[in-house]
């Protein structure tokens, strides 16, 4: 079973050729072929290295899951499964719950996605269909380069430029305009909050700006790989560009398009540096969309310096990491399955 395709194919071909000629002289080639296939030292070593490397990938993933779980076990043991939906966060009394961080992560990622996806899709459509041809390639490269900028740069810009702008212009306007919205229960007031600049909304915007080039680039890749035949067929029937997109292209690559969105979501969920600067780092349940809050990643990065090895706080951070990993794993798995489906067909 382990014998390689290469050696058996080559061996069979050459050996029979020699037999056909009826040669009885033992050549070095013949000697080599007479050796059993599959136990060649070079091939064995080579394959072992390759298998071991492939093993490293699989082991890494499960090791991350296991180490996070083992490290965070103390938190689950102390607070029970309730840890996941408990809203307390009191470092003085060492009482912790995950829900504030989970809420912050979900709200910021969702708002970011809702903002970034339509714009990213628009950019992708523009780049593949309506953009003048000479500009397509340079603009496409520009988008991909922007996706490569380190997230800490986005975080800094958010902290020094976007947060003051939000505090001065956007937040007072939001508070005033949406004052009519009735609060949810007596704990969530939509946009009613003092305009301090940092908070859920600013973090969402920074996340949106950060994943925008990423979503645009992956969506563009999907649109570009659509078979030209499909588009030509639609155009031949007299469809406009937009009708070709909605009637022919999107139905054909729907899975991949969702895959690109989920990849963007995966990025937003785990993003640390862009968020930690602008979310306000207040680990409590947000009482409005403008309130300072925290995400799992920001809580972990922010509280880590004060967490002694072996302390319950460190266990809490690892447990939070475990939760984030499980959620990201789910989102990324869906993304990859959606993207693969199209690649196969």
């Amino acid at each position: 079973m382990m014998s390689s395709v290469y050696s058996t194919r080559a061996g069979a071909g050459l050996a029979s050729a020699i037999n056909d000629r009826g040669s009885r002289v033992s050549t070095p080639t013949e000697d080599a072929l007479a050796r059993k296939p599959g136990i060649h030292l070079g091939d064995t070593v080579f394959r072992t290295v390759l298998y071991a490397s492939a093993g490293v990938v699989v082991v890494s993933l499960f090791a991350i899951l296991l180490i996070m779980f083992l490290g965070g076990r103390q938190a689950f043991e102390t607070f029970g499964l309730e840890f996941i939906w408990s809203t307390q966060w009191n470092p003085v009394k060492d009482l912790y719950g995950a829900l504030p961080a989970i809420t912050g992560t979900l709200i910021t990622s969702m708002i970011a996605l809702v903002i970034a996806w339509p714009i990213g899709f628009g950019i992708a459509f523009f780049l593949t269909e309506t953009c003048p041809r000479p500009l397509r390639s340079p603009l496409g490269v520009a988008v991909e380069l922007l996706a490569a900028i380190p997230s800490i740069v986005y975080g800094m810009w958010g902290f020094f430029v976007l947060a003051p702008f939000m505090a001065t212009y956007i937040q007072p306007w939001l508070t005033e305009t949406f004052a009519f919205l009735p609060p949810i229960g007596d704990s969530f007031f939509w946009f009613a909050a003092p305009p301090i600049g940092v908070g859920l909304m600013t973090a969402s915007l920074i996340l949106a700006i950060m994943i925008l080039p990423f979503i645009a680039a992956t969506t563009r890749d999907v649109l570009i790989t659509t078979p030209q035949l499909l588009k030509d067929g639609a155009y031949a029937l007299g469809a406009t560009r937009w009708e070709t997109l909605t009637g022919a292209v999107i139905p054909a690559v729907r899975g991949s398009l969702f895959g690109a969105v989920f990849l963007g979501l995966g990025r937003a969920l785990g993003e640390t540096m862009a968020v930690v600067f602008v979310i306000g780092n207040a680990t409590r349940m947000p009482d409005s969309l403008l309130a300072p809050s925290a995400s799992i990643a920001s809580v972990v990065a922010n509280n880590f310096p004060e967490s002694e090895p072996g302390s319950i706080k460190l266990a809490v951070l690892l447990a939070l990491g475990f939760i984030l990993f499980v959620v990201s794993f789910g989102v990324l798995a869906v993304a990859r399955l959606l993207l693969r489906q199209e690649r196969m067909s």
């Binding site: 290469y6 990938v57 699989v58 996070m68 380190p150 700006i209 693969r340």
Partner: protein
Amino acid sequence: MRTLTRSHKARYARRHAVDFFMSALCMLAAGIGLVLLGLILWMLLSRGLAGLSLTVFTNSMASPDANGGLANAIVGSLIQVGIGTLFGAPLGMAIGIYLSEVGKKGRIASAVRFVNDILLSAPSVLIGLFVYQIAVAPFGGFSAIAGSIALALLAMPIVARTTEDILRLVPDAYRDGAIALGSRENQVIRKVVLPAAFGGILTGVLLAVARIAGETAPLIFTSLGNSNWSTDVTRPMASLPIAIYRYAGSPYPEWVSLAWTGALIITVGVLLLNILSRLSHALIAGRHAS
């Protein structure tokens, strides 16, 4: 007949109006996106260039009034990214070779490919926590080597993915030719397939370097940062992203200015690496086409 034509005309006009409107919206989206990102780059350039001077590259980090630079952070980043690439890149290449040449479409290879794709986009903050648990906590201290391990874990799946993609572009005729000459599997891969794809694999490595050079979160948990000059890999080491993180949140204008300059240096470096890898990729693609 006439009514039919008229309704056709109306329909035609409406369809094209929708097309025009949606195309304009998409163009607007592209405009908004480019303006926003242009604003960020402009801010980075103007604030970063303001603090740029030779002392940034010659002096180590120091107190706000002592004319400090980022020399130790730049060297620390180079060391950690270098070691990380040294470990992560060969490992990634081996995985890519396995996926493309040995595992192919088999069940195990599909599983490995899937896991690799997940690792590729896994939150880097978790990689940092993981390496803290296995390489910092048990050995009782933060170290540059732990930071390098975290960066290697981040580089590995990137290189694996690009290597597989590139190897798949090597025509099967190359492999068949080598087999027909009686080559063994490892000879086919080492002497024919890999040389043909060498440039492309290098491109992937450059992309991975660009990606890990800007990583901040994993280093918070592993190499910690260091405000003094240190090249000892068993001890905490400074790095450019960590220096930016510390300085940007500080109350001293000198430090904030240095943080902008550091951010500019790192962004320019990352973009240059990306452009370089693109150019080499284009050159290789051009050679294959001719």
